[in-house]
């Protein structure tokens, strides 16, 4: 399973772990993972600790998620990025749209 989700902080935070390659092969599973989140969830975290590579389709998926979750109403954190992943997020100026840790 290259996508794993869990709730943290007593259900107020939703965490998505992406394992291995974050590319178009995950389009369907990634969108499904955050569908139907309740109002109780106030923040979403995408944890990249196990993400080896990302490409532009991953950036597109993140943007779609932001749009779908109501851009700006819920904080989306992109955490544990390896330097190469971080660079790609920086190139695309994702720091303006997400909280990158």
């Amino acid at each position: 399973m290259s996508l794993l989700t869990e709730f943290a902080n007593d259900g107020k935070q939703f965490v998505i772990h992406v394992k291995g390659k974050f590319d178009f092969g995950m389009v369907h599973d990634f969108r499904q993972s955050y569908e139907g989140l309740t109002e109780r969830v106030s923040s979403v975290v995408v944890d990249f600790r196990e993400t080896e590579y990302i490409d532009s389709s991953a950036l597109g998926m993140l943007l779609n998620m932001r749009k779908s979750l109501g851009a700006g109403t819920r904080t989306i954190h992109l955490i544990n990025c390896r330097p190469e992943v971080r660079k790609i997020l920086d190139i695309s100026r994702f720091d303006k749209l997400f909280v990158i840790e």
Binding site: E6, D10, V15, F24, V27, R49, E52, P83, E84, E101
Partner: protein, 539 residues
């Protein structure tokens, strides 16, 4: 007369020959006439060595039947025997004295046997103790020592610690620790620390999330431990940047979190029952994830600390701990002195562990070794036809090959991104003739990839050539990706426009990434071939 007695003894009618070495069947009773006294004495002297301990003395007669009437001669010349019976004597007397001797001999045999068994058991226990100690030493050999972020005070009640403190460097540069307290203390309590530690180290190495770690350790302990044994624990991960902690806590006293500067205190309250209590289906692996300012301190401890003095009816109150913390500026060496003072006042009844974590960047990434790049020039050419495009992942295969060269491994993520972008552009726009514009429509992103899959499954013709060339002196990999399509040209104007509207669109980013991550980007062969150079430099 002796023949009439049913006595379980070995009798010799004569003293042994002087040459015999005293070994052989045990000799219990000897008939000794005065005329043979000298021979007997010499034989005994010869065969009595320091090694003839009481155990082996059974090889020498202990009962002498003296065949001369002068008893005083026998007593002065035959020392160190159990009894000397002078004959003639009454049958009853003879029987009683022989039986008496036999009882003594049996007692000696039993004692000797028990001594031998006790020695064997003691040696076996020492050996097993050593094996177990070695197992514990090996189990904890991956424990990270001398890390600046963590200070500890660990005081087991016996040789084997039922408290468990583990520290490990995470594969993604984070720092993991686990503080556990198994029910009871001593070896029985320490047994569970072995599987828990092995799982902890293995999962930390691959940067597993704390929730998964808690789940897996719980599963193992649930299977392994008897139902009245469990492990109260705090499992915590501090991110590589030192400003986020993820933690799972069950049954352990709340760790104290101390804010930098203000010293304001909050608690990591346990959220769950201890590890090993609930089966996998019921277990709640929910973690707490929070951002923390740098220099935040977290003081975690097992109940051995707050139970100090409980037997004197004056258990240590959490307020006393807080007050000691404030007084000592939450400095661990001063806190340790304070705990030592408490220990001097009262005998501890349980294992005691105190851990102080100071949050700051781990710096683990920087410590990674960097291999030198290979000095061997190489070139690689891959041709992808419809069938290969459908069934294989050419970029993954190329990267696996490249990683075999010295120093290439650490550039895999960057090479993946640019090669993947170039290959997907060639496939989707060149060979499959798709337009990215549909990605912007509702559900367009997913529909785009569904369409890609459909077109690929029907693809009959088309080809993509991928060429890589490495020259050591350039410290870069030259890449060419050529497709059999009609050609494409990257529009600088469009790219600039995209720069200004970043965040609004979900397409057009691939070429932008290539442009930013490579050098000398150009299109040749009427836009059917993209060429660029990937610098092999660390970020």
């Amino acid at each position: 007369m002796l023949a009439d007695l049913t006595l379980d003894v070995i009798i010799s009618a004569q003293p042994p020959a002087l040459e015999s070495d005293g070994f052989g069947p045990p000799l219990d009773i000897i008939f000794l006439p005065y005329s043979k006294l000298d021979d007997f004495t010499q034989w005994r002297e010869k065969n009595r060595g320091p090694q003839r301990s009481s155990v082996n003395s059974l090889n020498q007669p202990e009962l002498v039947i003296w065949l001369d009437s002068d008893e005083t001669v026998a007593e002065s010349h035959v020392p160190d025997v159990h009894d000397i019976i002078c004959v003639p004597c009454s049958r009853i007397e003879l029987e009683i004295r022989i039986r008496n001797y036999r009882s003594l001999r049996e007692a000696k045999t039993t004692n000797a046997d028990q001594a031998r068994r006790l020695t064997w058991h003691r040696e076996r226990m020492v050996q097993e103790h050593n094996i177990v100690q070695n197992m514990f030493a090996n189990a904890f050999s991956r424990h990270l020592v001398d890390d600046d972020h963590v200070e500890t005070f660990l005081r087991p009640l016996s040789n084997f610690n039922g408290d468990l403190f583990l520290l490990a460097r995470g594969g993604s540069g984070s720092l993991y620790f686990m503080l556990g307290d198994f029910t009871g203390h001593g070896l029985a309590a320490a047994i569970g620390t072995i599987p828990a530690s092995q799982t902890f180290f293995a999962m930390a190495k691959r940067s597993a999330p704390v929730s998964q770690m808690a789940q897996e350790i719980n599963r193992q302990l649930y299977q392994l431990l008897p139902s009245d044994m469990f492990c109260c624990a705090l499992i915590l991960e501090m991110s590589a940047t030192g400003d986020r902690i993820n933690w799972w806590s069950g049954g352990i006293p709340p760790a104290v979190m101390v804010a930098p500067d203000s010293h304001e205190v909050s608690y990591l309250e346990p959220q769950h029952v201890p590890l090993g209590v609930l089966g996998p289906a019921e277990f709640d692996s929910g973690i707490i994830s929070m951002r923390v300012p740098h220099r935040t301190r977290i003081l975690a401890f097992t109940d051995g600390l707050i139970e100090l003095g409980i037997h004197e009816g004056k258990p240590l109150q959490i307020e006393q701990l807080l007050s000691a913390g404030q007084k000592n500026d939450w400095d661990m060496s001063r806190m340790t002195e304070w705990i030592e003072d408490k220990l001097a006042e009262t005998a501890p009844q349980d294992d005691l562990s105190v851990v102080m974590l100071t949050c700051s960047p781990t710096g683990f990434h920087e410590q990674k070794g960097k291999d030198n790049l290979t000095k061997l020039p190489f070139a690689l050419k891959v041709t992808v036809g419809p069938n290969e495009a459908r069934t294989l992942d050419p970029i993954a295969a190329i990267l696996r090959g490249l990683s075999q060269f010295d120093g290439m491994e650490r550039f895999r993520p960057r090479l993946y991104t640019v090669l993947s972008e170039a290959y997907n552009n060639a496939l989707e726009h060149g060979v499959l003739r798709m337009s990215s514009k549909s990605k912007g429509e509702d559900n367009g992103f997913e529909n785009y990839y569904l369409e890609r899959s459909k077109r690929l499954s029907r693809l009959q013709r088309g080809q993509i050539d991928i060429e890589l060339r490495y020259e050591p002196k350039l410290q870069a990999i030259q890449v060419k990706v050529r497709d059999s399509g009609t050609g494409f040209r990257f529009d600088e104007m469009a790219c600039d426009a995209l720069d200004q509207h970043r965040g609004e669109t979900t397409f057009g980013r691939g070429l932008h990434l290539i442009r930013e991550l490579t050098r000398d980007l150009r299109w040749t062969e009427e836009g059917r071939c993209i060429e660029f150079s990937v610098p092999l430099e660390d970020i």
